[in-house]
């Protein structure tokens, strides 16, 4: 039994404490926007925010999460895809297959919260999620766009 605060709602989940947070979010809570890609903290498809920091939820045991920890998943990033990162992603048509993009968007949103005007080097260091479709060039452009509130030139 664990108490989790996900997207502002506190819920009780019945699950073994060593279950990764990713699978609790997907299977017990039923929010499937957060994805499984590797299970070993390599790819970032499972990225969520915990207390405003981006974390790879496949590698966090649910038993180690406190009821006071604020977990935000892609579904809770904004009510209507209006977060500047989501808007920039739409404006630049970043996604290809889209499977990695929940994680990419969560990583970018956490970066901009920490660093509102990141340089290319900051983006290199922060955006380490894998995109197998290779949308990296557009991710970089979209992070800059979200930071500057500019539109595509």
């Amino acid at each position: 039994m664990a108490k989790l605060n996900i997207n502002g709602t506190v819920r009780d989940v019945e699950v073994e404490p060593d279950t990764p947070l990713l699978w609790v979010i997907r299977e017990q809570v039923g929010l499937t926007g957060t994805k499984y890609g590797c299970g070993i903290a390599q790819c970032g498809a499972c990225s969520v925010h915990i207390n405003d920091e981006v974390q790879r939820s496949c590698s966090i045991r649910v038993g180690d999460v406190q009821a006071s920890d604020r977990i935000i998943t892609i579904e809770g990033l904004s009510a209507d895809a209006s977060h500047p990162v989501q808007k920039a992603w739409a404006a630049i048509d970043v996604p290809q297959c889209g499977y990695c993009q929940s994680g990419q968007i969560m990583a970018a949103a956490a970066l901009l919260k920490r660093m509102p005007k990141p340089t290319d080097k900051d983006i290199d260091e922060a955006m380490t999620n894998i995109c197998r479709c290779g949308t990296y060039q557009r991710i970089r452009a979209a992070v800059h766009m979200a930071a500057n509130g500019t539109s595509r030139t």
Partner: protein
């Protein structure tokens, strides 16, 4: 969420799809239930009037355009909808897409044509009939207006879904005309004159993708996200050594673990655990002691495979060749001789979404929910495995979290899910592979080596060229019928003499190209770009070696051999120009160039790289030129080119699936790394569509990425790189 569609039984209303409740019955067998879907691209037939198979018009003038091909990120849905919409003359802002199911396609005598999505064929082999489908719908809608107003159809004009009769000042919209149009006799598609692409307004333009919205908020449902009432989840382990079997397993050891419902032996080679959640299934499977009978291949290793291929380089039998003149003699008698041996490893597709399928077998129906590049192959696998006749099977396609050739004809994961579901009738079973299983049981990019030799005359002209590829055959694994009289042409893709698809762009007076088949126990299959990637590395890197030996500029040297191949040459020139070939570079930065053809399209690349004193490579900039004939969506073509650079560079830098004790060694992204954002060069895409053919887009440009970079490294270090991946190579 449950929706059932059915057509009314009467003849004329075959064109009308009705959305009813799940309890609705009767009518044409088009109904399907799709609980759990929430997609920007509708997965069920929408309310409205079917004007023809491709176009459904809603009362509010929205046009729903049907798509048969699969979407895996390559933008095919948007491109195909653009082509239909162009001829339909509808309002682009009100366009929606809807994917058809293979069961519907079968029931309607394959009215939507082929559904298989591979070989960069999505647009190039369906553009003609989808455009005719859009045009036929337009003709019917105009005809309906002409009949209603009793005016000649020639006096009507149409724009953005509004039909106008200027002489009388009347106008009407598609939404109002659709019901009447649906009752009219369809025009002969062959008699329809399609628009000249010069007049395109929607096609050929960089329209935004129509399937982006639900990729931004987590609402898109991929195969792994399917939820069905009463569903159970399964995890699976297939014998790690290909060709091995399950000897035994001790089910008692996992009895009583939470949520576990069943342990299933799958086809002698695999064991699956079924539980209420996937994580419980996966962890129970991890805890299950399994003894494998590893079979005859348990001692095969990368080293033994390398020896096997090396032997093929000198063998006397060839499994396919092309030749003109006498290359061996020309090289033997040349003033200067150049020789090299190259090799490329097995590679995994590593789609971000691992293999998965959800199957439900009920008394009179078999269903599968699956991300697939070939929905008809999924349907066939379902029917074959379950024994349920095709007419009572249906496959519901989710968009794919990556395909790259892995999710095509084989459908091994569907076969597995069916076997598990057979043990639990009526219960939907969602099978998801771990990343480790995905890496262990791929159909890998075939491994090969290539020995090349060239002869130069005293002035540095190429007089003879010999290339011999020794390696594994995709056809031997997947399509033995493709090997004719021992010859397997597919492995020489990109080196062919014939124009039109994957032709070598050089004319060499004495040329011999051979393939020697050396198969291993590792299953192989098409991997985005298939054999063009390896063959381009061999041909294009060696071309640079020969140019250097001739003391010539690599671009000039190539140009001299390309007079008979104007389209290849034009693309090479476009890349060279945009890539500033021959212009000064900052200190320490070097350029490389390459060109190749595949999937009916011509590609070329210029790479700018630097190599540090410690051998650290940095790829700064890549310019890629592509002639794909017609450019349906230039922005999405650019996206595919950018993606192809990442896919190609990942293979070049890191890609290698090692074999030890008969099994794959590299089972996750820790030892099978994927390139990340920090390593992505600036990519510039130059599209030079010559407008007189239709070529592919998703695959062709990968082939030139690695050779352009390797040639730039050669320029930087003075040493050729002949072995991949670079992580194993000391550059200085």
């Amino acid at each position: 969420m449950k929706k059932t569609i059915r057509g009314k039984a009467a003849k004329l209303s075959r064109r009308t799809f009705i959305v009813g409740s799940a309890a609705a019955s009767g009518g044409l067998a088009l109904g399907f239930n799709l609980p759990g879907f929430g997609s920007a691209v509708a997965q069920t037939a929408s309310e409205g009037t079917e004007v023809n198979a491709w176009v459904l018009v809603k009362p509010d003038d929205a046009c729903v355009i049907r798509v048969a091909r699969s979407e895996m990120g390559q933008g095919t849905i948007t491109g195909l909808v653009q082509l239909v919409a162009e001829e339909l003359e509808c309002d682009w802002k009100k366009v929606k897409a809807e994917q058809v199911t293979p069961g519907q396609n079968l029931a309607r005598k394959r009215v939507w044509g082929e559904m298989s999505t591979g070989g960069s064929r999505g647009i190039r082999t369906s553009e003609d009939y989808v455009r005719r489908g859009g045009a036929a719908a337009r003709i019917l809608l105009l005809q309906a207006a002409a009949e209603e107003w009793k005016v000649p159809v020639g006096e009507l004009t149409v724009a953005e879904g509004v039909v106008t009769h200027t002489p009388s000042g009347r106008s009407s919209s598609y939404g109002k005309l659709a019901a009447a149009a649906a009752k009219l006799e369809a025009p002969d598609p062959k008699a329809i004159k399609l628009k000249d692409p010069k007049d395109w307004k929607v096609a050929g333009k960089p329209m935004k993708r129509i399937d982006t919205a639900d990729k931004l908020d987590g609402s898109k449902i991929y195969g792994v996200d399917i939820k069905l009432p009463g569903m159970l989840c399964a995890a699976i382990k297939d014998c790690p050594v290909f060709g091995g079997k399950v000897a035994s397993y001790d089910e008692a050891k996992i009895a009583g673990r939470p949520g576990v419902r069943k342990v299933v032996k799958v086809k002698d080679t695999a064991v699956a655990v079924v539980a209420d959640t996937w994580w419980r299934a996966k962890t129970a499977l991890d805890a299950l002691p399994i003894v494998w009978d590893e079979g005859p291949n348990a001692s095969v290793s990368s080293a033994s495979i390398a020896e096997q291929l090396k032997e093929g380089l000198g063998a006397s039998v060839s499994n396919g060749d092309r030749q003109n003149g006498d290359a061996l003699k020309a090289i033997e008698t040349a003033a200067k001789k150049v020789e090299a041996v190259y090799s490329t490893p097995f590679l995994a597709h590593a789609t971000m979404e691992p293999m998965n399928a959800t199957v439900r077998l009920s008394a009179d129906k078999a269903e599968v929910w699956v991300p697939t590049q070939n929905a008809e192959a999924s349907l066939a696998a379902l029917s074959e495995g379950s024994g349920v006749p095709l007419a009572k099977c249906e496959a519901y396609r989710t968009d794919l979290g990556g395909g790259f050739g892995r999710r095509g004809g084989t459908q091994d994961y569907v076969h597995q899910a069916v076997e598990i579901a057979k043990e639990l009738p009526g219960i939907p079973i969602k099978l998801i592979w771990t990343r480790e299983e995905d890496q262990a049981h791929d159909f890998f990019r075939p491994i090969s080596q290539c020995r090349l030799a060239a002869g130069l005359d005293a002035s540095g002209n190429l007089t003879g060229l010999h290339a011999r590829v020794s390696g594994q055959s995709i056809n031997a694994t997947l399509n033995p019928a493709g090997i004719v009289n021992g010859k397997d042409r597919r492995q020489l893709q990109g080196l062919w003499a014939e124009p039109g698809d994957a032709q070598l762009g050089y004319t060499v007076p004495n040329l011999l190209i051979e393939y020697v088949m050396r198969n291993t126990h590792v299953p192989v299959g098409p991997w985005r770009g298939v054999n063009t990637n390896q063959n381009a590395v061999y041909m294009e890197c060696f071309m640079d070696e020969v140019a250097r030996a001739a003391g010539k500029d690599p671009l000039d040297f190539r140009r001299a051999l390309m007079g008979g191949h104007p389209k290849h040459l034009a693309v090479l020139n476009a890349a060279a120009e945009k890539g500033d070939w021959g212009k000064p570079l900052p200190a320490g930065v070097h350029r490389g160039i390459a060109q190749f053809m595949g999937y009916g399209s011509y590609s070329a690349a210029v790479a700018e790289v630097s190599v540090s004193d410690r051998g650290q490579l940095r790829v700064h900039r890549m310019v890629l030129a592509l002639d794909c004939g017609h450019a349906v969506n230039p922005d999405q073509i650019a996206a595919q080119v950018e993606g192809s650079v990442a896919y190609g560079l990942t293979a070049m830098l890191y890609g290698e699936c090692r074999v030890r004790d008969g099994r794959m060694v590299d089972l996750n992204f820790d030892t099978y790394p994927i390139m990340r954002l920090a390593e992505m060069p600036k990519v510039e895409t130059v599209i030079v569509p010559s407008g007189d053919f239709w070529g592919g887009v998703g695959e062709p440009t990968i082939s030139v990425v690695t050779p352009a970079v390797l040639n730039a490294i050669h320029a930087a270090t003075g040493k050729p790189v002949r072995q991949l991946p670079l992580k194993n190579v000391r550059l200085v």
